[in-house]
């Protein structure tokens, strides 16, 4: 469902990504881990067609992200890290607008879908509230509702639980687990405990390069780390150096 081949991205002399290749399949949650500035968000932005890669190629749901960007956008639900929302709109207005942009017609079908997604993301009680007045937790859930609105086969979530309280984190994780049933989920996070409980496979990026990939068990075996609650943290410390891309 997601195929990235030799993705590279440079900004002047800075190599944000160097020859990154990976695949993610339907029914799988692929965790993208890495220190701050490692290139995680750049990878997600290329896959979401927001950024063109300097070299390499990527396909999402069979479409090339550079050549068929509109087709890719139809098939991807993206929740960006800071989840910016238009402050002046109401929740219901915003989702209706986004539904129209994503081609959810006729109106009756869109309304039904919005009601379903409001329930699923637990934002029914704030449906008439203005987005600028929502708490961080609700804003994040509205962003997730938007990402899932058109029922895309690929969902890309960039730090979805940052700034949420434990109840909200638990609920959001439950939704992400449900997505595994029929979607490909790319979950970018630096919360290692989250990655270890949610993800089927992990991709560790450091300084723009993939420094580790596989299931939790495979990574532990490769790096000779005994299993336990701190195993992923130990693996992460061993294979990443931290710092920004060069």
């Amino acid at each position: 469902m997601i195929e990235a081949q030799g993705l590279s991205k440079t900004y002047g002399n800075i190599h944000a990504l160097k020859e990154v290749s990976f695949e993610a399949h339907p029914g799988e949650i692929l965790g993208v881990l890495g220190p701050n500035g490692a290139g995680k968000t750049t990878t997600l932005r290329i896959l979401s067609t927001l950024l063109p890669a300097t070299s390499g190629s990527a396909r999402v749901a069979g479409f090339d992200v550079a050549r068929d960007s509109i087709e890719v956008r139809r098939r991807i639900g993206y929740l960006p890290e800071s989840n910016p929302l238009p402050e002046e709109m109401r929740v219901i207005e915003y989702l209706d607008y986004r539904g129209q942009l994503k081609g959810l017609f006729p109106r009756a079908a869109r309304r039904t879908k919005i009601e379903e997604i409001l329930q699923r993301c637990q934002v029914v009680d704030v449906r008439q509230r203005i987005l600028g007045q929502l708490s961080k937790g609700y804003r994040q859930r509205v962003g997730l509702a938007d990402a899932l609105l058109a029922d895309p086969p690929v969902v890309v979530l960039d730090e979805p639980t940052s700034g949420l309280d434990p109840h909200q984190v638990r609920h959001l994780r439950a939704i992400v687990r449900e997505l595994r049933e029929d979607k490909t989920v790319l979950l970018c996070t630096h919360i290692l405990s989250e990655a270890s409980v949610l993800c089927d496979r992990l991709l560790v990026i450091d300084r723009g390069q993939i420094v580790g990939s596989g299931t939790m068990k495979e990574l532990a075996e490769t790096h000779s780390v005994p299993s336990g609650p701190d195993a992923l943290e130990e693996i992460f410390i061993r294979i990443t150096k931290g710092g920004e891309a060069e």
Binding site: T49, L50, P84, L85, P86, L101, K102
Partner: protein, 245 residues
């Protein structure tokens, strides 16, 4: 076509809920009402004098130059500052649809600013003989054409800036430049470039329209200027995506 209509509705809605819109509308309508009263008083009801004053006075050119920067400064600058442009561009819409929807929304509002002018002449016609609608019609058409040119400049200024105020300043400077090119011949530039300076100034092309003459050179100038800045805005939006870290 459908995404464009959805985006256009969204942009018009954004104007409708912005306090700045109502502030600009109130100020412009009051100003136009006051000016119209002044023109009627001083012309003693002579239609041709009123029409000439309405579309050729210095006040007219000040209003038509200041309005578009105020209307367009937030279009892209605000979306970039908030980060909502990124979310917008993950939806299945093209950059061109985004640019055009913002442009047409600002142009619709610009047209709304000049609604009282048409109403003033309608009211005046009910009190006396019928006016010559030709110069009034071409004057309004010219106003809308200048507005489209200036709105496209404002849109361009908003694409290249992340701050509304910077966007407004860039837009005002560019719009004023097109206004004052007309007067540069007073500075004594080489004689052979004076015609070129004149032909790139707004008042030169607007002059005939205000007199009721529909000159294709004027139409071509305003429309090609609009298309040029829309094209550059579209390309700048694309290159911004390539450059953003």
């Amino acid at each position: 076509m459908r995404p464009f209509a959805v985006l256009l509705r969204r942009e018009v809605h954004a104007y409708a809920v912005s306090p700045l819109t109502y502030l600009v509308l109130t100020l412009f309508w009051l100003m136009q009402g006051f000016l119209f009263f002044l023109y009627v008083e001083t012309s003693r009801g002579d239609y041709s004098t009123i029409v000439r004053a309405t579309f050729s006075s210095n006040f007219f050119f000040i209003l038509i130059t200041l309005a578009p920067p105020l209307l367009t400064m937030r279009l892209f600058a605000e979306e970039k500052r908030r980060g909502t442009l990124e979310v917008l561009l993950t939806a299945p819409v093209t950059n061109l649809q985004v640019v055009l929807s913002k442009f047409f929304a600002s142009w619709i509002l610009f047209g709304g600013l000049w609604l009282p002018v048409a109403l003033h002449f309608l009211v005046l016609s009910s009190y006396g003989s019928a006016p010559h609608w030709g110069p009034i019609g071409t004057g309004i058409l010219g106003t809308l054409l200048v507005g489209s040119f200036y709105c496209s400049i404002g849109l361009f200024a908003s694409v290249i800036s992340d701050e509304q105020m910077i966007s407004a300043v860039v837009s005002v400077v560019l719009c004023l430049s097109l206004l004052f090119l007309h007067f540069l011949h007073f500075l004594g530039p080489p004689a052979d470039i004076i015609p070129y300076l004149r032909h790139t100034s707004i008042p030169f092309h607007f002059h005939d329209l205000a007199k009721g003459i529909l000159d294709t050179r004027a139409l071509t100038f305003f429309l090609s200027g609009t298309l040029f800045f829309l094209f550059v805005s579209w390309k700048m939006l694309q290159t911004r995506q390539w450059r953003s870290p």
